[in-house]
């Protein structure tokens, strides 16, 4: 079905869950006013990004009042949001939730925690261990958190699991100044979101945050990409924004007819070869 998606390109406060919850609620209310069916927030929208030793202090369980409050709001609008999750066995995850109809419809723990360059996630967080597509009132979807999308297998698995909409929550630091029109990180992400949509004949909904943490900027530029890889809506660079865009069912249908790569994708060849590679690596 056709629906409107809102991308809340916000500026979370580092380590301030209560303040960020208010910020999120305001954006949710705006999304409802603007008649969006789904609102997407950035990675770690409830906490901010460079948390370091704050991780245990800001972590929320799936049963926390904050998550319950957002689930309540999802009776009016579907919500994809990022936060730090504490599990019953006291592991901490960089997690994303898809909330709909008053409940948690899907729960994804970031699998690929970048620990290089300016990133240090694996020092503080546990890795998720699955990619699963899920059914929503807008069709079958998949959730990715930032670095997950840089691993080809992640969106591939979700698309093979039937997702036709890939939602990526991001906190991408801006870096790589040159003479080009955009930062290096912006240029790379644009190639990535567009190619992912095109390879998998799927829509990509990308929400990136803005603001600065200890001198590091987050560049925003949230996007809606149609299944042909064309960007249909884009947020401001380095500024807060609230982007809305219409998602068309007909466009998905047409793309899947004209470029049936996902139909022809041979799961069994892929599996066979991956198994062989796994075996050879073990031997």
């Amino acid at each position: 079905m056709d629906f409107t998606v809102a991308l809340a390109q916000i500026k979370p406060k580092l380590g301030c869950v209560a303040d960020n919850l208010l910020l999120i609620q305001e954006a949710v209310e705006r999304g409802i006013r603007e008649e969006a069916g789904l609102i997407v927030f950035p990675e770690l929208a409830l906490t901010g990004y460079f948390l370091k030793d704050l991780v245990p202090e800001v972590a929320l369980s799936l049963h926390s009042p904050e998550i319950r409050r957002l689930a309540e709001l999802s009776r009016h609008i579907s919500i994809a949001v990022g936060f730090v999750e504490i599990s019953p066995d006291y592991h901490f995850y960089n997690a994303a939730l898809y909330l709909e109809g008053g409940e948690i419809r899907h729960h994804h723990r970031k699998v690929y925690l970048p620990t290089y360059g300016l990133f240090d996630e694996q020092r503080y967080l546990a890795s998720g261990e699955r990619f699963r597509a899920f059914d929503s009132r807008f069709g079958r979807m998949g959730l990715l958190v930032c670095e997950d999308m840089w691993h080809l297998s992640a969106p591939y698995i979700l698309a093979m699991d039937g997702a036709t909409t890939l939602i990526c929550l991001s906190s991408s630091p801006g870096r790589g100044i040159s003479e080009a029109d955009t930062l290096g990180s912006t240029a790379s992400w644009r190639k990535l979101t567009s190619s992912t949509a095109m390879f998998l004949n799927s829509r990509v909904i990308y929400c990136n945050r803005v603001g600065y943490e200890d001198g590091v900027n987050f560049w925003g530029g949230s996007e809606i990409i149609d299944p042909s890889g064309t960007v249909t809506a884009r947020g401001a660079i380095l500024e807060e924004d609230f982007v809305t865009g219409r998602i068309s069912e007909a466009a998905l249908r047409r793309e899947r007819i004209s470029s049936p790569m996902m139909r022809d994708e041979n799961l069994f060849v892929t599996l066979k070869e991956l198994k062989r590679i796994g075996k050879e690596r073990n031997s």
């Binding site: 406060k13 580092l14 380590g15 301030c16 460079f50 948390l51 370091k52 030793d53 704050l54 801006g174 100044i177 040159s178 003479e179 080009a180 029109d181 955009t182 930062l183 603001g211 600065y212 943490e213 200890d214 001198g215 900027n217 660079i237 380095l238």
Partner: protein, 273 residues
């Protein structure tokens, strides 16, 4: 064309946003900085005036008796162009009072003392105004250690610490820093006729090309040699970066507890902001 060339509009947007947000998020409105008459502090003043509004930027000119009078007139020119408030605090009485006790002090000690005297004036005004002190050290100086620890290297926020001197020139021109400041030879102005490049023994443009490839692109020495850098020059610069690293770090702490500041007690400075 050098790979150091940058998109000035984009760079300006990032640096202006940085000053605005990092000052506002700690509940402040103002910035204070020392204007030397040189290009680095002029550029930071331009960035700050755009970020905070000229009424929220306060410049202090801090000459010593041996400073070139042209430096002060260039500093005043920047303040006038930007319509930022500006005052002169001469550091001669304080510096001379101290060196009356140590008349044999070397030029190095005297230069460091002057830089630190200026730092104390800026941080005193930080408390007075209140305002955050803006740093004006660029990436070239920081990497070479060409600055005084706890002197000109001290600040609350540094908008230009990740851009090389060559990029400071480019951005300054784009933002409208007066050409007489952009075009003059860089100088620490510690004694008459001093220039940075004479003292360092190479030009900023040369060393920036090397540092960019060595630090940002992480080229090996063999690759750097292929790019035309002399092995002795590579070694000299590598040693400068290595030997000045202490200036870029906080003091090291003897670890005895389970959580030691900055080692296993780790928080961003923007904690809660």
């Amino acid at each position: 064309m050098s790979e150091l060339r940058v998109n000035c509009l984009l760079l300006q947007k990032i640096l202006v946003g940085f000053v605005r947000e990092e000052i506002h998020k700690v509940g402040m409105k103002k910035a204070v900085l020392g204007l030397s008459g040189g290009i680095d502090s002029a550029l930071v003043a331009y960035i700050a005036a755009q970020a905070l509004g000229p009424e929220n930027v306060h410049a202090i000119i801090m000459p010593y008796k041996s400073s070139n009078p042209e430096s002060e007139s260039h500093a005043r020119l920047v303040a006038e162009r930007l319509r930022i408030s500006c005052q002169v605090v001469e550091i001669t009485p304080m510096v001379d009072a101290y060196f009356d006790l140590f008349p044999q002090a070397s030029p190095l000690r005297r230069g460091n003392k002057m830089a630190r005297e200026r730092m104390t004036v800026l941080f005193d005004h930080s408390a007075l105004l209140p305002a955050l002190v803006l740093g004006t050290s660029n990436k070239t100086e920081l990497l070479l250690g060409y600055g005084t620890l706890h002197g000109d290297m001290a600040s609350a926020l540094n908008p230009i610490g990740d851009i090389y001197k060559s990029q400071v020139w480019q951005l300054s021109e784009a933002m409208g820093v007066p050409m007489e400041i952009v075009e003059k030879k860089p100088s620490a102005d510690l004694w008459a006729g001093q220039t940075d490049e004479q003292e360092l023994g190479f030009t900023y443009r040369e060393v920036d090309e090397l540092l960019y490839r060595m630090v940002d692109l992480r080229m090996s020495r063999a690759e750097l040699a292929i790019h035309g850098f002399a092995p002795e020059f590579i070694q000299e610069i590598y040693a400068k970066v290595q030997n000045s690293h202490f200036k870029r770090r906080l003091p090291i702490i003897a670890k005895v507890s389970n959580r030691t500041i900055d080692r296993d007690f780790r928080y961003s400075r923007d904690w809660g902001k």
